[in-house]
Symmetry: C2
Subunit: 497 residues, 2 copies
């Protein structure tokens, strides 16, 4: 990115920005200027018809093209040495029910770009979203950011076409960048993977290419209530946009009350929080100082308890996930057909925030979570993040705190409840049930690794790397989607999915 | 740390804090309530007399007690597996004059505690400092934080006495913690080392043990002008305390002008900056996305270009640093005599910020620097940070930018110029000349890896890990030391050193 030239007379700027109020306006605009939501559903159905030519087939590892097991280490690698590889990870920890294990893990040292281009139409910010097929997607097509590209993608290692709109991100002027931060991805499946989450505002006209459409934040918020529609990359980028409680209150008026009012107050700092930001940072520092986990890359052939057969690498208990291989043909991707390894998790995950009102301000209960793939040991995670099936062969005491509180919640305390997918380029049908469940504060007394935080506090940390994990970021996007009021009923809209 | 119990009626708190103005008051108090600065010098001279019983002698590696070269890898390790080890690091990079190298590096996975205890006397915050001997110190004794302890120290691996005051940090109440953050140390000498920088305010009476004394920030600022007096650990902890421009202005009145006024404005956000905080973060994100460096621990015996003799491991050119061994006897440390490996850098380093006024607000020119030991690839560093001798065998084009501008600066543009040491527990006579040199903005047009930032912007990033390197943090402490006005003349005070 090229900064403006600096001279002694260069003007100084303060940090005051109109962005939060512009985001608030977009969030409260449910009927897009460019395309109505009903129109979107028709457009998406048409895209889906086209995408049905995409076929994803499980294959044997021997049938992978350009991929194979490296002789010495047994790692599953691409011939170019690029993209990603499946290696082993040896983990020791003094936290959690299991003290040491080894597992396969994806090593993808490249930093990809997840970018949403935004632009004002009639004074309302719209996001340029893409209907994109990925081999692991539940439902073939999901709504992705404007750009989701690894460096191997855009440096054309697999002889793909150039990535549309990418240059608008890589050469953006500094003042048009609304958010830009490296964020981690699943620390149980990835070794230190991060992607660049970036939002850039377009000033010039933007050609809308086939498969793309402009939507307001309010429209995206409505679409988040649909199962497996807004993809993981969209959710994490959206979470990094700074909302503003005071601006929402101004737009909404003072009449709002109940859960929504408590949520809106939670998106601002003026109403306060149970813990100061400094106390939250000190708590994270304390946990990181303990370095409870050591994770070292090892040869895949040295991983214990996992067995490789012709078409999968699986854990001896059948739990966790398999490494598999797929062939993809047809569709409208950058290249015409390819094969790749993919991670296929077992079972439906549960990802949930417990939320409670303190003095009228909604707080969510975050969990300081250790995952072996994090670069800095601990990140803030949802209250519950697990696949219940994986705990079936462990003692009852190992059952995750608060899981039953979430699963047994009465319907009138469930504020959000949608099936959403993890990244379909690496994960095969990795679906989690994302929930926000409101409780009374005294119902959720837990271990010291949990803290009540406002949405504003979580979003504040999202300006920096290493703090908020990808599942919690998804839930932040889900929480933001509730500021517009009761969610649309996905069935009533006549959705085609 | 134990948080207060949370109930539905727990009060919410906003982030407003009186801390910055209390720090400003302490910074402007040059005559300590507890001890005058003249008295301090006398006290320190007495401590120095006692400490002269400490003898540090270079020894052969074979004479190390409890340390040795591990058979398989050749790493230099302690028998307990604790403390630290000297291993090899293999580095490849596409940034800088050398594309690949290997080198010895200290691996110290533990996170130590660097803590300053503060307490109000007559309404003015004082810091409890310690006159402490370290084997590598220039001048035997330096002024250290209240606590500097590795986990091995305080879990008594070397059968030491318990660390005084440590429990006040480890069991502090959240609301008494004024700063608490993991910060990196030298990325050229340490593999991913971080220490916990923490400041805790004492409410109860504190017994002042032998070797400790209370000093205001203003007194510490005066002492920073003395060569090799305030040690590295003190400087990095001090840098993490949030200063406040508006409060300083209120205390100082509006009459101040010139450099000092520009500096005071720079410690606040109300006057603005050339780049917004968001632009700075985006710039760092962009550089980190490139991942220009890969560093892997390797066996020490596999390091190329370094030779091991009986008493040192040195580079074939004689440049950079040696690994040596020392025996320490006498003194008042936790244990009575020990031996250890130590890094002995060659030559006097230069660490400097160029500073310039833009619209009356001082900015410093930070360099986004890659060092192989950083956990997150890039940290913000001083404008100049190098040992000029190390460049003598490299082509002229490899000479660090701005070095000559610093070395040739006229005396009336030099705002700070003191010899300061790096950590004496790991480094033997590692002395750098720390400078702040004021230039006109057009004198310092450099490559795109440099950005002008206000002091407030740098200090804001110090709330988080991974942003500001240890040399820049030292310079932040030096800059803060100038808010009190023209520095004391070290010679005129009759200092004993």
């Amino acid at each position: 990115m090229t900064p403006s030239p600096i001279t002694p007379g260069s003007p100084l700027r303060t940090q005051v920005s109109g962005l939060p109020s512009r985001l608030a306006r977009s969030a409260l605009t449910r009927h897009g200027v460019v395309r109505s939501t009903a129109d979107f559903h028709g457009w998406f159905a048409d895209r889906l018809d086209l995408a049905r030519t995409t076929a994803v087939t499980g294959i044997d590892f021997a049938d992978l093209v350009g991929w194979g097991f490296a002789p010495a280490r047994g790692d599953l690698v691409h011939d170019s040495g690029k993209f990603f590889s499946v290696q082993g990870l040896a983990v020791t920890t003094d936290h959690g029910p299991v003290a040491a294990w080894s597992q396969p893990i994806i090593n993808q040292p490249e930093t990809g770009v997840l970018g949403i281009l935004v632009k004002e139409f009639d004074g309302v910010l719209h996001c340029l979203m893409q209907a994109k097929a990925e081999p692991g997607n539940a439902g073939v097509l999901q709504l992705s950011p404007t750009v989701q590209a690894t460096r191997s993608n855009y440096t054309a290692v697999h002889r793909g076409r150039s990535v549309p709109y990418l240059d608008l991100f890589l050469s953006a002027r500094p003042e048009s960048v609304l958010a830009d931060v490296l964020q981690s991805e699943q620390g149980s499946w990835f070794h230190r993977k991060r992607n660049r989450n970036i939002v850039v505002e377009a000033v010039d006209d933007v050609e809308v290419r086939e498969g793309f459409c402009w939507l307001t934040l309010g429209q995206l918020h409505e679409l988040l209530a649909f199962d497996n529609l807004v993809n993981m990359n969209s959710r994490t980028v959206l979470s990094c946009l700074p909302f503003s409680g005071p601006d929402l209150v101004r737009e909404l008026g003072r009449g709002t009350d109940g859960f929504r009012a408590a949520l809106v107050r939670s998106t601002g700092s003026t109403w306060g929080a149970l813990h100061t930001d400094g106390e939250i940072l000190s708590w994270v520092t304390d946990l990181r100082s303990r370095r409870e986990v050591e994770a070292t890359l090892v040869p895949l052939r040295d991983v214990r308890g996992w067995h490789r057969s012709a078409d999968r690498i699986e854990h001896e208990t059948g739990a966790f996930f398999d490494i598999r291989a797929v062939a993809v043909s047809g569709g409208d991707r950058e290249v015409q057909g390819w094969t790749q390894p993919i991670i296929a998790p077992h079972g439906l995950g549960v990802v949930a925030f417990l939320a409670a009102r303190f003095s009228g301000v909604l707080h969510v209960l975050v969990n300081a979570r250790v995952e072996p793939g994090y670069l800095d040991f601990v990140e803030l995670a949802p209250t519950v993040q697990c696949t219940p099936e994986n705990y079936e062969h462990l003692p009852a005491g190992a059952r995750p705190p608060f899981l039953d509180l979430v699963l047994d919640a009465p319907a009138d305390r469930i504020r959000f409840d949608t099936l959403l997918s993890e990244e379909g380029g690496r994960f095969f049908l990795a679906v989690n049930r994302y929930l926000v469940v409101e409780v009374d504060p005294f119902e959720a007394v837990g271990p010291s690794r949990y803290r009540w935080m406002t949405v504003d506090q979580v979003v504040g940390l999202l300006r920096h790397s290493h703090y908020v994990n990808v599942q919690a970021r998804s839930l932040v996007a889900c929480l933001h989607s509730l500021v517009g009021g009761p969610r649309a009923d996905p069935i009533a809209t006549g959705a085609v999915r």
